[in-house]
């Protein structure tokens, strides 16, 4: 019986997980408390949210997750998952879980592993077979589908672990250190997958030591230390630095930099703090090398590049984004839209609950910077680009995202227009940036 149905009925923000005063104390044989892993924390996870749980080792992240999964019983407090007690077996039908370490049966191959977990969810044979094929394709393990998973590298096992977490098309996906052990390609794919699933309406609870990963994908997060919550809020609330502005432009001459500096002094009475030439990140270099090797069809016995998100995972959330399950024709139309939109104006990667914001193209931005009279036109063009919402995973080209991150408000403020740099964080203006993506690389 439901503890409190109001949480899943939308009266309280359509909450998936609701914890109040949640405490877990570990005891020894004589019931003497040995450690308080979680100490009276209050948090909630709303539907369609990508929620991050951060903290150093021993901060209580995994204990919290285990309580949500019903693997550990709480000592005190209240914890409700889908309106029910977490130990309720029916609750587990709606949850997918990727543990911190991938604990696979060494004697089963990936196909048998996914089939096994599918059976635990009571899926019929045809569904299991279809989902197994799609998931293996998605995580890039099709070529090793019949190799025992005991022979797998940590990264390959991680991919299989991720696939098993998705086999039931879960409403709540719990990922404990999902990028641990993955190579940069795998890490990027997992982050893209998380964003893709998030945009399709899945609720995701994520923990990671790699803070950049969390920053890239989470819409809201909690930071734990010593079993207590030290901070919580959206990425924008926690990470925004409203005292500085970053602008990325093609390489400027010393004269141009001086001119910009003078303009800034004249318009706003501030100067350039620092000027740096952007460097390619090691991740970008690595991805480039691997892509070239793949293009040359260099043989590998390891995991392959993953395919697109399994079709059965694209159902529910698509409704929230304005479209139901996409047919093949719709998918083709989507790609066509994407191509034309990319050629015309870059788009931001949509993230669940992330408000849209005006975006412009690189060229429009540069025109506006050089010629203030073009600012209004650039703003119009940017606004036009956002009128065509396109649902796309974050695997879109990096330059598309980077361009989208330029904020018309910043240009306005720089050129003495109506905008103000302080307004950057105002709703409808700055939120278009995917949370945590303010840093666009090069600085001027």
């Amino acid at each position: 019986m439901a503890i409190s149905d109001r949480h899943s009925d939308g009266q309280n923000g359509d909450r998936i997980v609701d914890a109040a005063g949640l405490t877990k104390t570990f005891s020894d044989f004589w019931m003497r408390a040995t450690a308080r892993a979680v100490d009276g924390i209050d948090f909630h996870i709303d539907r369609h949210e990508i929620f991050g749980l951060l903290g150093p080792n021993g901060s209580g992240k995994s204990t919290t997750i285990k309580m949500i999964l019903g693997l550990l019983h709480r000592t005190r407090g209240r914890l409700v998952v889908f309106g029910r007690d977490p130990s309720d077996v029916d609750v587990k039908r709606r949850i997918g879980y990727l543990p911190e370490e991938t604990y696979l049966y060494r004697f089963l191959n990936p196909t048998e592993t996914l089939d096994y977990y599918g059976k635990l969810f009571g899926l019929d044979r045809r569904t299991r077979r279809r989902r197994t094929e799609e998931l293996l394709d998605m995580v890039g393990l099709t070529q090793v589908a019949h190799r025992p998973s005991g022979e797998f590298s940590k990264g390959m096992a991680r991919r299989l672990g991720l696939a098993q977490a998705l086999v039931n098309d879960p409403e709540l996906l719990i990922l404990d250190e999902p990028t641990s052990g993955l190579d940069p390609i795998g890490t990027k794919q997992v982050k893209d997958l998380i964003l893709g699933l998030g945009s399709r309406g899945k609720t995701i609870l994520l923990t990671s030591h790699l803070l950049a990963d969390v920053e890239d994908v989470c819409s809201r997060m909690v930071i734990l230390y010593g079993g207590k919550i030290r901070a919580q809020g959206t990425s924008t609330e926690l990470l925004s630095d409203s005292t500085h502005t970053l602008i990325r432009v093609p390489k400027l001459t010393a004269a141009s930099i001086k001119a910009v500096d003078e303009t800034l002094h004249r318009v706003q009475g501030v100067g350039i703090d620092s000027v740096q030439a952007p460097r390619q990140t090691l991740e970008e270099l690595f991805l480039d090398i691997v892509e070239k090797a793949r293009a040359e069809q260099v043989a590998t016995s390891g995991a392959q590049s993953g395919g697109r998100i399994a079709s059965f995972l694209q159902g529910e959330g698509a409704g929230q984004q304005g479209s139901a399950r996409a047919t093949e024709a719709e998918a083709a139309a989507l790609v066509q839209d994407l191509v034309s939109a990319k050629a015309e104006a870059p788009v931001a990667t949509p993230v669940a609950k992330a408000p849209e914001a005006p975006k412009g193209a690189d060229s429009a931005m540069l025109d506006a910077l050089v010629d203030p009279s073009k600012a209004a036109a650039a703003a119009t063009k940017a606004a036009a680009a956002t009128t065509k919402p396109v649902a796309q995973p974050r695997s879109a080209a990096p330059e598309v995202r980077k361009a989208a991150e330029l904020d018309q408000g910043v240009i306005d403020s720089l050129l003495g227009g109506s905008g103000n740099a302080e307004d950057k964080n105002a709703p409808g203006k700055s939120g278009g940036k995917t949370p945590g993506r303010e840093n666009s690389g090069g600085q001027a």
Binding site: K92, Y103, K119, L120, P148
Partner: protein
């Protein structure tokens, strides 16, 4: 790539080829169909002889010097539908049958002796008695071959057949038929075990947590070679046991020894498998934390444990089934060995290979009159008792009660005890 792995890969590719599987199924089906029809025809011929013999033997009269009786005594044979049945070796036995009245009194026994010579050594008695069993066995074998090819065991089927033929042929033609059969049976029954496990996995392939966990246990036991190791012990011992049994001892002892030793082996193997695998599958899964992933799925702890139990039961069933088939096959072989005498042969049929039912013994009480007289006689024969009564140490009633209890107890003891050679 080593030669072994290259061969393994090639065999694996071949096993996945539908054309190969169909071809193997067709060839084996044809051989089984032809073989079972031939066996059926031979068994039907024996059945006709068995039907005709009693009447012919009943009519035979040696005193009247009829042809049948004369032939039996002089040649040890009898013609049934123009075909002679029996052998020279039976002459003296047949002659003894006609002693007395000149007619055969023990017709069934004489028929049994004559039929024993007509039945080929390779034919089990069950088929000789019921020819339809040959067709049923053929049909069953066809199903087995079909399932083996369907479940991807076409290559092992061919390989096992070839290995069996290689082991059996030289030994059988070299006069060591029994040893050849025992050695050839080892790969054959390993294949049977594999087949039974595949069948189990098909049966357990259900969209239910308990069945999924059970199938996981079966796969674990096979892939980690735990079950294979234990099954191999039984599959080696059961076919080779007949080689260690003294063929000169009475047949009933040989059969009894084989049954006892093979049953012991089977039970020991199952017991050790249950203990080892039962401990390992739960403890290791918790230690290696696969249980953490499993228990975050909609699986109750009870279903998980029940699944583990079901998997163990299924594996034991696979070993029991394989061993039972092997035991039956070699029991038929041992049973066909020559008996020491007719009584030995009958003891095998009537004392060893018979089903028994349990029953409580019925004891009779000593009738009161006999008990009373026995007590009186005991008092007369016991001077101490008489002295006790006389001196008033004990009353007469006490002495009589004590003696009556002892006599009644002794009477019951006599009924319960089994003396030597009884």
């Amino acid at each position: 790539m080593s030669l072994a792995s290259a061969i393994q890969n090639k065999a694996s590719d071949l096993g996945r080829s539908s054309a190969f599987r169909i071809a193997v199924a067709a060839v084996f089906s044809l051989v089984i169909a032809v073989g079972s029809i031939l066996v059926y025809r031979e068994a039907a011929r024996l059945d006709r002889i068995a039907d005709a013999l009693p009447q012919l033997l009943r009519n035979a009269d040696f005193k009247a010097k009829d042809a049948v009786a004369t032939q039996l005594v002089e040649k040890g044979t009898i013609d049934v539908d123009g075909v002679p049945v029996g052998s020279e070796a039976l002459r003296s036995a047949m002659e003894r049958m006609f002693e007395g009245t000149g007619k055969i009194e023990r017709v069934a026994e004489a028929a049994s002796i004559l039929l024993g010579t007509a039945r080929p050594q390779w034919m089990p008695a069950s088929i000789a008695q019921e020819p339809i069993v040959a067709l049923a066995a053929g049909g069953f074998a066809l199903c087995v071959v079909g399932f083996a090819c369907y479940s991807g065991l076409a290559v092992p089927l061919v390989v096992v057949t070839a290995v069996c033929a290689l082991l059996w042929t030289p030994l059988a033609f070299g006069g060591r038929l029994s040893l050849g059969t025992s050695l050839a049976a080892i790969p054959f029954f390993m294949f049977v075990f594999t087949l039974v496990v595949r069948l189990l996995l098909v049966v357990l392939d259900r969209a239910s947590p308990m069945f999924a966990v059970a199938a996981g246990v079966v796969r674990e036991a096979i892939r980690l070679r735990i079950a294979i190791a234990f099954a191999a012990i039984a599959i080696f011992v059961i076919p080779l046991l007949p080689q260690w049994i003294d063929p000169t001892s009475p047949l009933r002892y040989q059969v009894q020894t084989y049954l006892a030793r093979s049953l012991d082996t089977m039970y020991l193997v199952c017991a050790f498998l249950t203990v080892f695998l039962g401990c390992a599958t739960v403890a290791f899964e918790i230690r290696d934390r696969q249980a953490w992933t499993t228990l975050t799925k909609p699986v109750s702890r009870l279903s998980w444990l029940a699944g583990k139990w079901l998997g163990l039961v299924a594996l034991n069933a696979a070993i029991l089934l394989t061993c039972t088939v092997a035991m039956y096959a070699f029991l038929v072989q041992i049973r066909s060995r020559p008996a020491e005498d007719l009584l030995d042969a009958l003891a095998v049929e009537d004392e060893v290979l018979v089903a028994r039912i349990g029953g409580l013994p019925a004891y009779t009480m000593l009738p009161p009159a006999e008990l009373q007289s026995a007590v009186e006689e005991a008092i007369k024969a016991d001077p101490n008792a008489q002295a006790d009564i006389r001196e008033g140490t004990r009353t007469e009633i006490d002495v009589k009660k004590t003696l009556a209890r002892a006599i009644a107890e002794e009477y019951l003891k006599q009924q319960r005890s089994v003396g030597p050679n009884q």
